[in-house]
Symmetry: C2
């Protein structure tokens, strides 16, 4: 048995999220189906760095699995891409130590959120961006973002009903950059709570629209109360962009 680490991309639109569920089309379900086929009907369990919600995309999700098959990484990549549907793409396959773990060994994650920031909607990006036609004060959003950076209890920015007890996370950076007609929010952290990025973006947008001050974001965070925060941004603008592992990747 050898352990393999894969970097994968997927278009979240036609999936009921990453995690396997009965009678639903999921990314994990499709991956395990392809692996089962390659292993002559033997079930192979796939472990990801974390789940993503329905409609959320991944440009650099990381998974691992164990296999008795031996072949070069490039052959693995090609075989899996041949078997997988066109909305999942294996970008890289790498042989790793038996104790590598795609979830437990994560040292940092980067999410990106794409906002189509112009008056007209774009039918060709309706599944890949969130359209915000109103004026946005980007400097105010950047100021608000500074209150998010650092080690905080992010309870106020975590979807209600989350079972996770420890809600302290470290956000290393939040960058807001104009890229053509899009505004891209990149958020890098040690780990993220359920819907934390979408709630953060939703709150930054309220600041951008001038409906509240940047400092309010610090106040909301301090309440540790989800009910105090503003709305969650929709899933289609969100991308799990990169997952890093100290021992494997130079950061």
């Amino acid at each position: 048995m050898a352990r393999l680490k894969c970097v994968i991309a997927y278009d979240g639109i036609r999936f009921s999220g990453y995690q396997i569920q009965p009678n639903q089309r999921t990314v994990q379900g499709e991956l395990e189906k392809a692996l089962k086929y390659m292993h002559k009907n033997e079930g192979i369990r796939v472990t990801a760095s974390g789940r993503t919600d329905a409609g959320v995309h991944a440009a650099g999700q990381v998974i691992h699995f164990d296999s008795p098959l031996t072949m070069p990484s490039e052959n693995w990549r090609k075989a899996l891409n041949t078997l997988l549907p066109d909305d999942i793409s294996i970008k890289q396959v790498q042989s790793v130590a038996d104790d590598f773990h795609a979830r437990f060994d994560v040292t940092r994650k980067e999410y990106r959120y794409r906002i189509l920031h112009r008056k007209e909607s774009d039918i060709f990006r309706r599944f890949y961006t969130y359209h915000v036609p109103t004026y946005l004060d980007i400097e105010a959003m950047r100021e608000a973002a500074t209150y998010i950076i650092g080690t905080h209890d992010f309870s106020a920015f975590c979807a209600a009903g989350t079972k996770m007890i420890d809600k302290v996370r470290t956000v290393y950076d939040v960058r807001i950059e104009q890229q053509g007609d899009e505004l891209v929010v990149a958020m890098i952290g040690s780990g993220f709570l359920y819907q934390m990025v979408r709630i953060t973006v939703g709150n930054l947008l309220v600041v951008g629209e001038g409906k509240t001050t940047p400092l309010t974001i610090a106040t909301i965070l301090a309440t540790k109360d989800r009910k105090k925060a503003f709305a969650t941004a929709p899933p289609q603008g969100l991308y799990l962009w990169k997952v890093s592992y100290e021992s494997l990747n130079a950061l």
Copy 2:
């Protein structure tokens, strides 16, 4: 009865082309369904500037229809967008003279073709670009394009089996521009034969890949024989970009 002209966009992926066909999902079919609903079950026929194939997109298709209803253009736009599926968008509605004709009055059309020109594919643009990972000599493609510009018999660049007898068309311009990691071919002409843009792009790519010289394109065109031309580029990179009418639009 008043005649209305609409500029519409659509995502071609889930349509069996523009033109209505029994038991197929088509753009015209969806438009006429929405209009029938607005007109209390009375059938309204829609006329477009021309058809587009399955998988081909439109950013600026033009249609016209006649209606006994009277309301401001903006209300028409909103009502139709509410009734139409999310892969058709009405960009503009305009009241026009009774003798305006979306097809017969066209003075020029612009098509664009988006080539994703980089090594890695992009799962998020698989329906919206044609991925060409190989080296392309853009200057050679631009030289080949100069042989396309002008008034020619485009029989060699028209899909076999086309019933149209007069295959002389005027191409005003072919521009090839780098936009980020995409190469965009814009083609402007008096009118286009069936698959003419996709065949042109397919041939320009053969030149770009260095498999033939730019001058070969002039030679192929002169044969007036489709069998002499190279392959047709796939539909998903193609956009009907703009349709112009001398009497209505400044060119």
